[in-house]
Amino acid sequence: MTEPPANLRRQVLHAAHRQRAPAPPAVLALLRPYAQQVAQLERLLVATLSPDDWTTPLPHHGDVTGVVTHLADNDALVAEDLGLVRDESPGPAAVATASPAQRWRHQTEVLLTELSRRDVAELDRTVRLAGRGQPQRPLRDALVQRTLETWVHANDIRQALHQPGVAPPADHVRLIVDLTVRLLPLALALTRPRAGALPADRGARLVLSGPGGGAWTFALEPGGIVRSVAVVVHAAAADLCHLVANRRSPEGFPCTVEGDAGLARDLLHAAATLACD
């Protein structure tokens, strides 16, 4: 085979860039993980599932059809809040007859394609998160949540296929933990029975092992400042992802705690409320 000339690569990439600008790096940093999880789930839905698999009972959302419908509904919160409607969107008749998988695929394609054209400032735009109370958060948080939820439900569907679950890649784990840490103070305030009992300048530290692991220190109250750490929780990063996805119970969560054990328990219960189910 004749190799193309060496300078053709650069010409091709420049020509492509001129025709369609790449997503800004900060946007791409959040879109790429989502795109990767979408591709994983799409592969399961399109190439792996047999017609019978769609009705296999599952612990969450009934069956595969229910899981995909639920995921598409939650994706729609972001799509609707951003006003992402394309001219080639199916009309009412097509929507009525589209399968849950078709609806989910179309919507993810709209999200990825349209957001790739948006400016980085768009990441600060407020949209609804899925889950309890549908809190209003910046798009940057919603995109991480879409990545998390797509991964979780792909694993739900693997369960229907009797396939082992897949851990998220390390860079996805870090995004998920970053989001968890941003949301935990509010979740703790909503769930902790002794709200206000701690001074505002105390914090907690998560020390996570395995791919995507690291240490995160955060205030216990929204907008708080950390002057001292009240509790340190050591756990596997992948386990924490399962906890915030409500696929692992806070009861008996595998971790070791230094400091306030009651506070650690409250944190774990608060983390479990962040799920989108």
């Binding site: 085979m1 004749t2 190799e3 193309p4 000339p5 053709l8 690569r9 010409q11 091709v12 990439l13 020509a15 492509a16 860039h17 025709q19 369609r20 600008a21 790449p22 997503a23 946007v27 791409l28 879109l31 790429r32 989502y34 795109a35 990767q36 979408v38 591709a39 994983q40 799409e42 592969r43 399109v46 190439a47 394609e109 990825l112 394609t113 957001l115 790739s116 054209r117």
Partner: protein, 185 residues
């Protein structure tokens, strides 16, 4: 195989997400195949470069047109390259070859020659365009594309005997049509 298909599905979604590095990966993986197809059809390095660029810019602008459920990305890109390359050959031959074919034999003024040539070109183009696709493509590749019948057969995936007979039939029909219009031999 399944892993490659996974990669292609992910590549498609990353392209949709505006990930320019995904296009670089696609070029590194499939660029030589695309260029190879384009070069084999056009037999011109500059033309093959143009076709390769067109194919990858198209992929970048319309990544979701490729459906991994329907086939492999490599096949899709090679098919696209072949179509674009054949388009290129057709355009080039219409531009370069037809005026030569239409040289008038009689004595005429420059203006007359130009008029006659233009008229003949249009008639030949019309006759070729009126051929059924199966005949048109062999004529375009063999005469406008300068291929041997063996090369035409290989490019179109036809048996050599079929290719030869299609070329003969096409030329007979063209000659008959041009004669009936007073243009041909």
């Amino acid at each position: 195989m399944e892993e490659a298909a996974d990669d292609e599905g992910e590549l498609r979604q990353r392209l949709a997400a505006g990930d320019h590095s995904a296009l670089a990966e696609a070029y590194d993986t499939y660029g030589p195949q695309v260029y190879g197809v384009a070069l084999s059809v056009t037999r011109s390095r500059p033309a093959a470069e143009d076709v390769t660029q067109t194919v990858f810019v198209w992929l970048w602008e319309h990544p979701l047109v490729f459906d991994p459920a329907r086939g492999r990305l490599s096949v899709w890109l090679r098919t696209l390259a072949h179509r674009r390359a054949v388009d290129h050959v057709r355009r080039e031959r219409r531009r370069r070859w037809l005026p030569v074919m239409a040289q008038p034999s009689g004595v005429a003024t420059a203006a007359d020659e130009a008029t006659l040539r233009s008229d003949t070109i249009l008639r030949v183009q019309r006759v070729v365009a009126a051929l059924p696709i199966a005949l048109r493509e062999v004529v375009e590749l063999a005469y406008f594309g300068g291929r041997t019948y063996r090369e035409v057969a290989a490019e179109l995936g036809l048996p050599e005997g079929t290719t030869k007979s299609r070329i003969r039939i096409a030329l007979r029909r063209m000659a008959a049509q041009l004669r009936s219009e007073g243009t041909g031999p």
